[in-house]
Amino acid sequence: MAVAYELTDLPKILTTALAAPKHDRAALVRSYDETSDTFYAHFFGRGFSTYSVPVSDGDTDPLLVLVETDSDRVVGMQIEHFLRSFVPSHPRAAQWLAGAEWRSASRRAPTRPTTDADPMQQLVDSLSDLTGAAD
């Protein structure tokens, strides 16, 4: 079982996700839960049995990766305090909400993606803010 990841592991994790065939990448599901203020990205769709492993930047755990229990493969990510803490620190992450399923605190109405851009690429590009990779 993976015990923890460091932020420096993130590029490798995301590179693996991007290396998936296009038809697998199309299965990316993004969602935001307003009640808990949590953003999810399921790289290959939902339905995997997972546990969440923190990704540390040294002092905090800005995000968690979803690791499949059977294979220990990273199949998604989970970001708590998304609007409270993560987006103010990483403003480009706000664009992930475009087209994401949004479960409001009062009524949960899923929305459909409204862009033709590759959402997985968009996600990876934005995470360069976190990993320190060049734009």
Partner: protein
């Protein structure tokens, strides 16, 4: 509401249908038949922490077995101010299996 539990600090904790079925079971489908892990984590936590970002939110942790793995159940609960009868009621906002306590949280109990 689908469940009401009492934590070690004698506070009532509620779990609503939409939180469980539309959030937890959707994002973490392996918990679908394991609501008892949420219950035991609320009623018998190993520790309770103050959330790192939300003042009214607390995190409950308890080691559990999940798919033959020893893991750590985390349940986040948001508390209202005490009511007219000084009762404190909290609501589960999320729950998921993890491997460690989140950095940045501070200990609340024990």
């Amino acid at each position: 509401m689908i469940a009401t539990w009492v934590d070690p600090l004698d506070r009532t904790v509620l779990l609503y249908e939409d939180t469980w079925y539309d959030h937890v079971c959707v994002e973490h489908p392996n918990l679908h038949d394991l609501i008892h892990l949420v219950q035991v984590t609320i009623e018998h936590p190993e520790r309770i922490n103050f959330d790192a970002a939300f003042a009214k939110r607390e995190s409950y942790y308890r080691p559990v077995w999940l798919a033959k793995r020893r893991t750590l159940m985390k349940v986040s609960v948001e508390f209202d101010a005490p009511d007219a009868y000084d009762q404190i009621v909290g609501t589960v906002v999320t729950a998921y299996p993890t491997v460690s306590v989140k950095q940045g949280e501070t200990r609340r109990w024990p």
